[in-house]
């Protein structure tokens, strides 16, 4: 029997979606402005939708193939949970849907934000932020809705009151597999979107700014619209799908760990399973409250604008801490204060990572100013100092996650390192705590590209100086929040991946039972029932220790994957950008009157080139992310898969922080010089800074953010394919 308080979860998800619809409708009531503004917005909307249509075609084929494969495994060979094909599909569908709604809203909001900026900064902030909130609320709303539907449906087929808690393990591990669909969708969205946006940005800049000498966002540049489309497909649809996956992944992995931790105590087991869902539900309501707190006054400074956004997030976070204690009290979960401590640890870890990101990437602080200073000695020193700063910047986030892992483990386990089950549950709860305010934190992320596009629209439409100043202020704020959001996404991915690592063992249990195994037979002759085996039993059985070469090999391959993936995506940007360069050059050459502003460039062609380039280039890295865990499992078995997951997690997490922060600090070092330091615009320092920024573009917007998903997707593939691994591994 499902606990009555559980119904708060679907209700919260519906409330989130209702507010998303409300904010969308409120935004649509505003005017898009002049004919020119409407035309520009239409170009961007059409381009973005054309991209998504093409992307969904490619992803659709991929999903079809994978669903068929899962169906054969499940129904043909009994190697797979029979629900996996459906769970995989719904995960992918809802993840894609979240990205689609977010992007649709963003493309409607940018012109409206620019138009509102004609009269008021606060009005423009409100439209941009609440449109960003549509994305945040759609992600959390659809995420919790999907979780609720599956929980209710699976409870029908596997009643939780029957089977002494075993059914709850089946339910949670089955639900976890929908994360693979979400991860796969997210990877395509992030990698494809990342390649698209940077191909358009770098390609457009290289010819427009460097060769033709025309400024950014100039309507004479044929790649301008593609650049604006890229902001939407990369930073809105891609980020939305990414965090949808993290959000659901953290809740589901924690539920699975909760089911495992309290095996044999079905009452407490159910409470442990629904607790993460309830915390997420409370987070939704408090995020909505926080969204209403974001407002500013006319003529606000940058600091005041940032404060207004921070106010919403901070108040939501504090209230989550307070209300989650109430929820845990109502649920009456074991070690309530310890679990609550883990939630606080999660939120604190997220905040520390966000602040560290801000410190290393904002020009207000020394690290970025030092990179700016290094521009005086040329491009090489800028690259060196940016790489160095990025590497150093990994220290605080890594230590924050280390502290987060230890503290949440200790709090939840009652300061007992041997209480592995509850300790790991605590780590999962910390990830849920960190992501509980995703409704509002994602709003600040999605707000960035909306403000950026509003600035582009104001520029291309020739709106007045005061309007451009307002949109510039909003855009600048968006850059800061985007950098912080990326740090947050990476931190949550690390904790989620760790929870997934532990969940993998639970999937092994189910996989073994499915192929008819009932006991773990150890070399010393002892037997342990699979149904009741602990996590440590599984580790011992599969010999998962650092002296096992299979584990080491897996770790090395996992580490290599992070670098291989980054290399492939960075080269992909280079190739796609070169095609854009050729096209922009062709248009300048063949369409008379572009540079004089007398004829309109062929914007659609540039969007098409970026789209095709992104689709073509994303296939190899995405396929590798899926195939490598399967192959490693089939060849070297469980120990190597665990090693692979660990290797990808530790290298991918650090590499992602490094790349995101290096890219962010190069970008802001350039902006710092453009503000009038070190010679300002046009100086040699500026030229060197531009080179740094161009190198940093794929760092921060393509490869770095995609690593989050790589880590999670490889874990998810390992989880979903665990049946195959235990049945067929060669070594």
């Amino acid at each position: 029997m499902i606990n009555g308080i559980f119904w708060t979860v679907p209700i919260a998800s519906i409330i989130a979606l209702a507010f998303a619809v409300l904010f969308f409708k409120q935004m649509m009531k505003n005017s898009e402005g002049t004919d020119r503004m409407v035309t520009i917005a239409e170009h961007i909307r059409k381009g973005a939708m054309a991209y998504l249509k093409q992307q969904y075609k490619v992803v659709g084929i991929f999903f079809l193939i994978m669903t068929l494969l899962f169906s054969i495994m499940a129904y043909g060979f009994n190697l797979q949970n029979p629900w996996v094909p459906f769970a995989f599909l719904t995960g992918g569908f809802f993840s894609g849907l979240a990205g689609f709604f977010g992007m649709k809203t963003a493309t409607y909001a940018s012109a409206r934000t620019a138009n509102a900026a004609i009269t008021s900064l606060n009005g423009a902030l409100k439209i941009a932020f609440r449109s960003g909130a549509v994305m945040g609320l759609v992600v959390v709303g659809l995420g919790l809705l999907d979780i609720s539907i599956w929980f209710i449906a699976l409870n029908y087929f596997y009643p939780i009151e029957i089977g002494d808690g075993h059914n709850l393990v089946i339910i949670t591990t089955t639900m976890l597999t929908f994360g693979m669909g979400a991860s796969a969708q997210a990877l395509f969205a992030r990698v494809g979107g990342g390649i698209f946006t940077k191909a358009a940005d770098v390609g457009g800049d290289l010819v427009g700014k460097v060769e033709a000498g025309i400024p950014e966002d100039d309507p004479r540049n044929p790649a301008t619209i593609a650049d604006n489309v890229g902001d939407n497909v990369g930073d809105v649809a891609g980020m939305g799908a990414d965090l949808y996956e993290s959000y659901c992944g953290s809740i589901l992995a924690t539920s699975a760990l909760g089911a495992a931790a309290f095996m044999g105590n079905s009452d407490m087991q159910l409470k442990a399973v629904i607790a993460p869902m309830l915390i997420a539900a409370v987070g939704i309501i408090l995020s909505i409250l926080g969204i209403y707190l974001v407002k500013t006054k006319e003529g606000a400074t940058q600091k005041e604008l940032l404060e207004s956004l921070s106010r919403g997030i901070n108040i939501s976070s504090i209230l989550v801490i307070v209300f989650s204690l109430g929820i845990l009290y109502l649920v009456d979960i074991e070690n309530m204060m310890g679990i609550w401590g883990a939630i606080i640890v999660g939120l604190a870890t997220g905040t520390v990572i966000g602040k560290a990101t801000e410190y290393y990437t904002s020009a207000t602080y020394k690290p970025t100013q030092k990179i700016a200073k290094s521009t005086e000695f040329g491009a090489a020193t800028v690259i060196i100092s940016g790489l160095g700063t990025g590497m150093i910047s990994t220290t605080i986030p890594v230590l924050a996650v280390v502290m987060g892992i230890i503290l949440s483990f200790l709090f939840a386990s009652g300061f007992n390192f041997n209480n592995m089950g509850l300790g790991l549950y605590g780590i999962g709860i910390a990830a849920v705590g960190m992501l509980s305010t995703l409704g509002i934190t994602l709003a600040t992320d999605a707000y960035g590209p909306i403000a950026d596009n509003a600035g582009g629209n104001a520029e291309m439409s020739g709106l007045g100086e005061e309007v451009r100043k307002r949109t510039d202020a909003l855009d600048s704020l968006g850059n800061t929040t985007a950098a912080t959001g990326k740090g947050f996404a990476i931190g949550s991915a690390a904790l989620t991946a760790l929870a997934l690592l532990a969940s993998y063992i639970e999937e092994l249990r189910i996989g073994l039972l499915r192929i008819g195994e009932t006991v773990l037979e150890f070399s010393n002759g002892t037997n342990v029932s699979i149904a009741t085996a602990t996590l440590t039993d599984f580790m011992n059985f599969y010999d998962v220790n650092l002296m096992n070469p299979k584990v080491l090999v897996g770790m090395l391959v996992g580490s290599m994957m992070s670098f291989l993936f980054c290399g492939l995506t960075m080269n992909a940007v280079g190739r796609a950008a070169s095609k854009m360069v050729e096209e922009v050059r062709r248009q300048f050459r063949e369409i008379p009157g572009i540079l004089e502003g007398e004829s309109v460039p062929d914007y659609a062609r540039c969007v098409e080139i970026s789209t095709k380039g992104a689709q073509r280039e994303m296939l190899l890295p995405a396929s590798l992310a899926i195939l490598v865990p399967i192959l490693v499992g089939l060849i070297m078995g469980v120990p190597a898969v665990v090693g692979l997951m660990v290797g990808a997690l530790v290298s991918g997490f650090v590499l992602a922080v490094f790349m995101a922060n290096s890219g962010g600090s190069w970008d802001n070092a350039k902006k710092y010089i453009e503000e009038g330091h070190l010679g300002g615009k046009g100086s040699r320092a500026h030229k060197a800074a531009i080179i740094g920024d161009t190198v940093g573009d794929p760092f921060k917007d393509t490869s770095g953010p995609s690593l989050n998903i790589l880590i999670k997707l490889m874990s998810m593939v390992a989880i979903v394919m665990s049946g195959l691994t235990v049945a067929f591994s060669l070594l």
Partner: protein
């Protein structure tokens, strides 16, 4: 079709054209095929002057539309020692062209010296292009450089005063901040020398500059003069540039990306 006469400063040339100043500037910067780009600066001239050196009497015969009726974009009249042979009274407005063909028209105004800066930085634009640090104000600088009785002089001079910010009064300690010039330490040294030796009014910072002018570094405006007369073409204020001439200004700020 009306024929206009333009005195190009970069490079120094006298050009006849059937294009208006705006059209000519755009054409001059990026051509017709958009395969070139380059900053340009030119004065519009009255056609009422006579010159034995510059053959402009038969300009109607030489500057004719193309066979298909297209206006003649440019007919070079002369490319050598043009500036010195153009009378001051024939010089009209100045046009500043960005390297992607945006044109800003500057009108002549009387120069009023109401500054207290002790030091100045002048970029000579024609006929020679040294960068000079000076303790003289623009009229005095123009006068001394166009005094043909002196061994180092030119008959006529086009120049622009560039920003020095705090260095204008405190070259030893003022921060460099928004000053984008190359070899800045040498420039600071030149300014300190000038301050220490008032008897020497000018000091060459760069013998001949090859780069485009960063329009944003223009302190007050452009000057053209001989030993008798000096014309001053003030730049619009920053507010006006950002408001009324935004497209030109944004393009001007993008200059300098010529790798």
């Amino acid at each position: 079709m009306e024929i206009n006469l333009y005195l190009s400063i970069m490079p120094e040339a006298l050009i006849a054209s059937m294009l208006s100043p705006q059209e000519f500037g755009s054409y001059f910067a990026v051509g017709t095929k958009k395969r070139t780009r380059g900053q340009a600066m030119f004065f519009k001239l009255k056609r009422d002057f006579k010159s034995d050196y510059l053959k402009i009497d038969d300009i109607e015969k030489r500057c004719v539309p193309d066979e298909d009726g297209t206006p003649k974009r440019s007919k070079y009249i002369s490319i050598y020692r043009v500036l010195e042979h153009v009378p001051m009274k024939s010089i009209e407005n100045l046009y500043l062209v960005t390297d992607d063909g945006r044109v800003l028209e500057l009108k002549r105004e009387e120069y009023i010296d109401n500054e207290n800066d002790a030091l100045h930085l002048y970029q000579q634009l024609g006929p020679v292009r040294p960068l000079i640090a000076s303790s003289l104000n623009p009229p005095d600088f123009c006068k001394i450089l166009t005094d043909t009785t002196q061994p180092v002089s030119v008959p006529k001079l086009v120049f622009v005063e560039l920003i020095l910010n705090g260095l204008a009064n405190d070259p030893e300690n003022a921060p460099l901040d928004n000053i984008p010039y190359q070899n800045i330490d040498h420039m600071r040294g030149c300014l300190i020398n000038l301050k220490k030796k008032p008897s020497k009014p000018n000091k060459t910072v760069v013998r001949s500059t090859q780069n485009d002018i960063l329009y944003r570094t223009c302190k007050n405006g452009f000057f053209i003069g001989d030993n008798e007369t000096m014309f001053y073409y003030p730049m619009p204020t920053r507010e006006k540039l950002e408001g009324e001439y935004y497209a030109w200004w944004k393009s001007a700020l993008t200059q300098g990306f010529n790798y």
